[in-house]
Structure formats: C-alpha cells, structure tokens
C-alpha cells in the first residue's frame, strides 16, 4: 500500500479518535459539548458508587395466585349456569382442587369447562362420598408460561415505575435469564431505603373487621382469617397483635389511582389514597352499609390500621396512618402509586459501593496506570533509542484509540477495566518489540535498512496476528460470560489488543519505511 494511503488512514483514525475520546476527558469534554458527539465513557458502579441488585421474581407464586383466582372464577361462572361447585382450593401451588357435589351435572360441567376454561387441564374426576366428584386441574404448560412471562414483565414495569418516582438518575433495569431482574442504581446514598421500595410487594387490601371473633382461637369460623396488626407507638418497640377480619377483601390496590404522603395536624405523617371510579363506588357503598364497624387496611398481609367507619365516605378518598416517619410515608405512597408487584420479589444479590470508595478506586487505578505507563515508556525509549520513541508514540496512540472506542460504543469503564488498560500498556509493546527484534536480526544479516524494515514488518506481522488472536478469543469469551465489571475488563483489553495491532503493524510501518528511505548510511536507530 502506498505511503500516502497509510498516512491518510492513520490521520483519519487519529482525528476520529480525538473526536470520540475528548468528550470523556474531565472539564474539557463539557467545554466541547457543542461540537463533539455526546457519547462518553460511562463509569461502572464500582467506580461511581451505587447499588447493583439481582432480584428473583417468584413466578411460581404468581402462577399459584392466578390458579386461586381461576378457582373463584370457576365457581362463579358455574353458579351462573346453575351448577354448584364447592371448595376450590390450590394444592401444592400448582393444582386446583374442587368438588362437584351432584354427579349428574358432570356432562354439562365438562362442556362449561371446555368452553370457558381452555387454560385448565382437568383430570378424570374421582368419586367421593355421597356421589360427589372430586376434580384436580392444572394450568396447561402454555398458560403457565404465559403467566410467568406476564408477571415478570409486570414486575419489571412496576419496579421501573417505582424507581422513576424514587428519583434515581440513569437507572439500569433489565430482565435476566431465570426469572431475574437486574437493577443498577448509580449514586444512591441510602441503599436500605431503595431496596425496601423496590422489593415491597405492596399488595393493598381493605377488609372488614370481625369484632365478634377471637383471633387467637385455633379454629376460626369459615370466611374469617386472623392477620397480624402493627402497633407502633413512638418511642416503643414495635409489637404485633392478631386481629380477625373477613377473608374476602372489599377493595384492593388495583382500585387505587393515586397515593400521596401528607401530614395531620399533630404533624404525624400518613398517606392519602384516591380511588378510581369503580373503587370510589365500592368504597362508598361498603362504608355506607357498615357504619360503626371497623375497616382494616392491609398491606402485604399486615394490618396497618383499622379505623371505625363513622359515616358513608363518598368522593373516593381514604388514608392510611400508622405512625410512619416522613420517609416511610413517602416510600409507601410511591409503591402504592406504582402498583403492586404481581409476585413476591427477593433480593438474590446485592452489591453496594459507597461513592467515596469509588473515587478512591479511580484514583488508585489511574495512579497505577500512570506508574505503569511511565515505567514502560521510559524502558522502551531507552532500550530502542529513536525507534523506542516511535513505539512510545504508538503506545499513546493506542491508548487514545481505546478511549475513543469506549466513548463511541458507550462502554462502561470499571475497575477491572482500568486493570485491562494497564495490562494493555504492558502487552501493547509486544507487537513493537517483535517487529524491532526482527528488524535488528535482519540488519545483522546484512540487509539494507529499508529491506530490513520491510522483512521485519512482514515476518513479525504473522506472529503478532497469530498470538493476538488467542487473546482476542479469550476477551470475547470473557465478554460473553462475564458480568458487569468483568465485561468492562474484556472491552478494554480487546480494544487495546486491536488498537495496538493497528498502530504497530499499520501506522508505525509507514513511519519506519519513510525513515529507512531517508536515514542515509548511518542506518536507523533501533
């Protein structure tokens, strides 16, 4: 290839690299914002500080919930057709059991099942006492899959909503294999609160209280359940007592359209709720019919408060009080507003890095890179003379390309990524060393400088390509299988290898050939 060509390509790469690398330089980048592309190197959480969470969505629970609802549905739909179905209940989380008390309804019931509940696989009934038929039904595999996907999507949406309202800049929320959701929140100062907001199921229900039932009894009457009630007095330990409520909820969080934190005249924090039209109608009717009774407000299976109903409440407003701190009521409002999670979410992995530690990591990483770079640059410069200086310039060029590549791809710089850069500094010299040693050899064999340069580059290029390809294979594998920080390492190392090959084989060759042509009888300094 002609020298002119090589030179123009090299200059083009240099200019492009500058354009993509400069925005990432502190201070300078912001000053040049208007002219340059806005892509910048992102700092990883380990450098910026923040939280990395892996959440597991309990999709099995969502399936079981959905199965319970289908049981209720089945009972109601059958009732409409004058068929009695008894005791639908979920067994083992995956099977729905119910009883058809009158066996003569079986053909009609079968037809109803086929028409209305195609998502159920109903097995052959077993005859029980007094002509009852006992059925066991399962969801079809397709339905299970659908519910799992749906609940995962919904969980993702809900978590995203909550985080948006929580106010985090640049959150990164994505689905992962195995019903997992990965959440990255840079620059969060109170991880405990963030985890609480993200992980709370926030299943809100309103139940009527049954004062006539003793909640401590071992056997409760049908249709009544006992729930723990939070009694939090300021300055005292939190304790729980039981309270008996009707099993069926009057209203759920589905009917809440808005939730806001507020303060009462005692400066106590509470949360106000607005119901949607349907919710407001039901709320008005229920409160009207039950004046004098108590209404329990249940969140995630715990009763927060159980105020007495004084009068019919119109207008679709209600409130939850429970001796909240200001932050607690704010967070509760967020989760209620963003909707409840379709299934419980558990934190499988949490990694938190404080911002001060991140800064420390950057500082020591950059210090290491500087020390390493200066050491290598000096060593090569002394060892190879003028050629060493060319190698040093190529090293700088390589670093520039790495920075530009990361900026252009919007890659994330992590602490192992900085290590990758340091390692690149060490290994990038390899290509130059291979070439120079080869040129020295050829000169010893008596070749003219130009011939030696050409032979050296030719022969070394094969070895360089061969040996670097294995390293590239490794970085590709690291990228494929690595997580967060390791990926950052793979990116910088991979970019470093490719860039060093380009500068050593392509750019410096042009310089050397030109030099060898004009060096005169003294030969080149190598």
């Amino acid at each position: 290839m002609g020298l002119l060509w090589r030179l123009s390509i090299a200059i083009m790469v240099f200019v492009l690299s500058l354009v993509y690398a400069l925005p990432s330089v502190p201070y300078l980048g912001t000053a040049l914002e208007r002219v340059l592309p806005s892509s910048k190197i992102n700092l990883g959480l380990d450098l910026k500080g923040g939280i990395h969470l892996t959440l597991g969505v309990d999709v099995a629970k969502a399936v079981s919930n959905s199965l319970a609802l289908t049981g209720q549905d089945l009972r109601r739909v059958a009732e409409d057709e004058k068929i009695v179905v008894l005791r639908p209940r979920v067994v083992g989380g995956t099977a729905l059991e119910f009883v058809l008390p009158r066996a003569e309804n079986e053909p009609k019931f079968r037809e109803l099942l086929a028409r209305q509940f195609p998502q159920l696989n109903v097995g052959e009934p077993q005859a029980g006492e007094a002509g009852q038929l006992r059925y066991v039904a399962h969801f079809t595999a397709a339905e299970v899959k659908r519910i799992e996907d749906l609940s995962l999507d919904q969980a993702l949406r809900t978590i995203r909503n909550r985080i948006d309202q929580f106010g985090v800049a640049e959150p990164d929320i994505r689905k992962q294999a195995g019903n997992r959701i990965q959440v990255q929140l840079p620059g969060i100062s109170d991880p405990r609160r963030a985890v609480q907001v993200i992980g709370q199921t926030a299943h809100l229900e309103f139940h009527l209280v049954r004062e006539d039932v003793d909640p401590g009894k071992a056997v409760l009457p049908p249709g009544v359940i006992a729930l723990p009630m939070l009694e939090k007095n300021p300055g005292q330990q939190q304790k729980e007592t039981l309270i008996a409520v009707e099993k069926d909820a009057m209203l759920t969080g589905e009917d809440v359209s808005d939730a806001r934190p507020a303060f009462d005249n005692m400066n106590q924090s509470y949360v106000t709720l607005n119901f949607n039209a349907r919710g407001a109608r039901i709320f008005e009717r229920v409160t009207g019919e039950n004046v004098g009774r108590r209404m329990a407000i249940v969140l995630d299976g715990k009763v927060y408060s159980a105020p007495s109903i004084r009068e019919r409440i119109g207008g679709g407003r209600a409130s939850i009080s429970g001796s909240f701190t200001t932050a607690e009521s704010q967070d509760l409002a967020i989760v209620l507003r963003a909707g409840s999670l379709p299934a419980p979410v558990s934190v499988l992995e949490e990694r938190t890095v404080g911002p001060s530690l991140g800064q420390e990591a950057i500082d020591s990483g950059i210090r290491a890179a500087m020390v390493g770079a200066v050491g290598v640059v000096l060593f090569i410069g002394v060892y190879y003379g003028l050629s060493g200086l060319i190698a040093d310039v190529m090293l700088c060029f390589t670093m520039l390309i790495v920075m530009a590549g990361m900026g252009a791809f919007g890659a994330t710089l992590t602490l192992p990524g900085i290590a990758g850069i340091v390692l690149t500094i060490g290994m990038a010299v390899d290509a130059n060393v291979l070439i120079y040693e080869r040129i020295r050899e050829e000169i010893r064999l008596g070749l003219t400088p130009l011939a030696a340069v050409r032979a050296g580059f030719d022969r070394a290029a094969i070895s360089i390509t061969d040996s670097n390809l294995t390293s590239i294979i490794v970085t590709v594998i690291l990228y494929q299988f690595g997580t967060g920080p390791i990926r950052g390492f793979a990116v910088t190392l991979g970019l470093g290898i490719v860039a060093s090959m380009f500068t050593a084989i392509f750019v410096s060759r042009a310089i050397f050939e030109e030099w060898a042509r004009h060096c005169g009888p003294k030969g080149i300094s190598i």
């Binding site: 380990d46 195995g178 405990r192 609480q196 934190v347 499988l348 992995e349 949490e350 990694r351 890095v353 404080g354 001060s356 530690l357 420390e360 990483g365 290491a368 020390v371 390493g372 770079a373 050491g375 290598v376 060593f379 002394v382 060892y383 060493g388 192992p416 900085i418 290590a419 340091v422 390692l423 500094i425 060490g426 290994m427 390899d430 060393v433 040693e437 050899e441 580059f457 030719d458 290029a461 094969i462 070895s463 360089i464 390509t465 061969d466 040996s467 390809l469 294995t470 390293s471 294979i473 490794v474 594998i477 690291l478 299988f481 690595g482 920080p485 390791i486 090959m501 084989i505 300094s525």
Partner: protein, 367 residues
C-alpha cells in the same frame, strides 16, 4: 542506537536443562495439589460460594481485637474480620453463611453494634456485597463455561491455524461437543464437565497427532494449575476478578507459546536437517530478547497495578504477576517439550513442507 541487554546471539541450551524445569514444575504442581487437597484448600470468594462482605472504614484507627469483640452479637453469627490496606482504619467483615442473610439486616446490625462499641469513632460502610447461593452457583457455572469455551476455541484455532488441519480441528470440536453433551446427560456438575472436556481435548489431540495444539493446551493447563496452587498456598480468595485474571493469563500464556511456535515452524522450513532439540533451542534463543522484553513490560505494568492499584484489584494483579512468570517459562519448557516428546524432526518437517505453499513469511497476516 538502542541498547541490547540481551545479546542477540545467545545460545542457551534450554532443552538440555529441561529436566530441571520439569522438576520445578512438578514440585510446584505437587505443592499446589497438597495445598488444595490437604492444606488451605482453594478459597472461593463470595461471588462463587455466596456470602456477605462488608467493607468498613473508621475515622480513627481501631484495634483488630476490639473490633472483633464489638461484633460478637447474636445478629451477626460467624463473622470474621480482616484488615484491609494500610493503617488500622479499613476492615473487611465476612460471613460465609448466605442462606438467611438479608443485606438490610446485616447493614443495620453492623451499623448498630459498631455505633454502640465505638461511639466516638464513626464507622462508614463503604462496600457491601451479598451474594445468595443461587446467584453464586450461577456465577460458578458461567465461569466454568467460560473456561470450557476458551479451551475449546483455542484448541480448534491452533490446530487449524498451525497445522492447517481445520478438519481435524473441527473433528475435535465435534468430539468435545458430543462428549460433553453425553456427560451432561449423566447430570454431573459443570466442574466435572470441564475436567472431562479437557481430558477429551488432550486425548483427541494425541490421537489425531495435533501436537502443536496439544502442546499449547498442556502448557495452558500447567500455567492455570500452578497459578491456582500458588493462590491456594497464599490463601488468596478466588473471586470474579481472579477468574478474569486466570483467563487473561490463558491468553497471555498462549500468546507467548505461539511466538515460539511460529519461529519454530520457520526454522523447520529453513533448516530441516537439524534435530528437534536443536531447532527448539534455536527458536527459543532467537525469540529470547522479545520474550524477556515483553514479559518484562507486562510484569512492570502489572507490578504497578499490584503496588498502587488499590485493594480491590490486588488479587487480580497478583494472579497476573504469577501467570506472566509461569506462562513465560511454560512456553519453553512445557509447550515446546511436548513437541520434542511426541514427534521427531521428520514428522514436523513433513507437516511444514507439505504446507509450504501456505505460510511463507510475508504472504499472510496483516500487511
């Protein structure tokens, strides 16, 4: 004019010294095995084993014993403390048990007990990592898969590129896939799969007489094995960073091996009349200055990482440091020695001549 610390016409008899090198390698491997089996064992970090790490920083120095005592509360069972970095201000707290540890609980318990024990010396949580057993198992599988694919691809690449036997390489890949698939059916863990696939690779290379690939893979195993053994001896915890360092050293070790192999093939064509031992010696000597320079600069850069890069990257740097030294030696004494043991000069000459039309210097590569 530059220097030449290493004379260009060195004529060390590397191959003559090989029995010494074998002895040292065998000793290191033995020490590693003893250390992993009966000694410290290979300490798996929380990334793989699951668990909790809390890094705290005090405003004033704190004695280790006092800290230990302050954390002896029922809410934090089985906690261990470890000094981190210089000065007595930074500590790492670890729990191996991750079954029931909830990050929020741990955080609260640590903050509360430290505030109670050191009221005038505020402790700040700088880093908190909780990895559940499920995620740990996943990460382990991912790391082992990475290792598996690295070996697979590299073996195929070397047999293809070096011996122009892509078909043999493809056959090996197929044998590996098939073999691991069959073994996978038995329900063995990923660790066994990797071991078995490695064994398959070695056997297939041997049977197909892919000596270059065999030498490279044996060298790679040698390096990773010795490094792991030394890590165990030094009680270094294997976490994700160390895992990445191990893969990097796989790349580095091969890098070095390939440079020697490249030169060896060139010499095989140029002076086929020499014996294999002489050819290897000559090739190693010719690439010696390059090897020492590159290893030197890589070592230098990694050393700066090790010394000033900070605590988190410390073990990564240590692993690479060991790997650079071991990897450099293994390209001479393991990878090349395998070639010497498995074939005579005629075999390789035939291999190289037959492909003579390909692989003449300068006809390939990026020029």
């Amino acid at each position: 004019m530059g220097f030449a610390f290493i004379r260009h016409d060195t004529k060390f008899d590397f191959i003559g010294l090989r029995h010494w090198a074998y002895g040292i390698s065998a000793l290191l491997i033995l020490v590693g095995i003893i250390s992993t089996m009966w000694g410290n064992g290979l300490k798996m970090g929380i990334d793989f084993a699951g668990g909790v790490i809390v890094q705290i920083q005090f405003q004033q120095p704190v004695k280790d014993e006092a800290l230990k005592k302050s954390l002896e509360v029922p809410a934090l069972p089985g906690i261990t403390t470890q000094k981190f970095g210089d000065g007595d201000r930074d500590y790492l707290l670890r729990f191996s048990n991750s079954e029931n540890s909830d990050a929020t609980q741990v955080r609260t318990a640590v903050v509360d007990s430290l505030a109670a024990a050191f009221p005038d010396n505020k402790a700040e949580i700088q880093r908190l990592e909780v990895v559940g057993p499920k995620v740990g198992a996943d990460l382990t599988n991912k790391a082992l898969s990475a290792l598996f694919y690295a070996v697979l691809l590299i073996a195929v690449y070397i047999s293809g590129r070096f011996e122009q036997r892509w078909m043999a390489g493809a056959a090996m890949a197929a044998a590996l896939w098939g073999g691991t698939y069959l073994v996978g059916l038995t329900g063995l863990g990923m660790g066994w799969l990797v071991l078995i696939s490695l064994a398959i690779t070695l056997v297939v290379c041997f049977v197909l007489r892919l000596n270059f690939a065999l030498g490279a893979v044996v060298g790679l195993l040698h390096d990773v094995g010795i490094t792991l053994g030394l890590l165990s001896l030094m009680k270094v915890e294997v976490d994700l960073n160390v895992m990445a360092a191990l893969l990097t050293l796989v790349g580095y070790s091969l890098n070095d091996t390939i440079i020697v192999y490249d030169r060896l093939r060139e010499n095989l064509r140029a002076t086929p009349e020499l014996s294999m031992a002489e050819l290897i010696n000559r090739s190693v000597n010719q690439t010696l200055s390059r090897t020492i320079l590159t290893s030197g600069t890589t070592f230098l850069a990694t050393l700066s990482l090790f010394l000033v890069g900070g605590g988190v990257i410390h073990d990564f740097a240590l692993t690479v440091l060991i790997g650079v030294v071991v990897g450099t030696l293994s390209s001479i004494y393991v990878s090349s020695a395998v070639l010497l043991a498995l074939g005579d000069t005629d075999f390789y000459v035939a291999l190289v001549q037959q492909k003579g039309k390909y692989e003449r210097p300068g006809e390939h590569g990026v020029v």
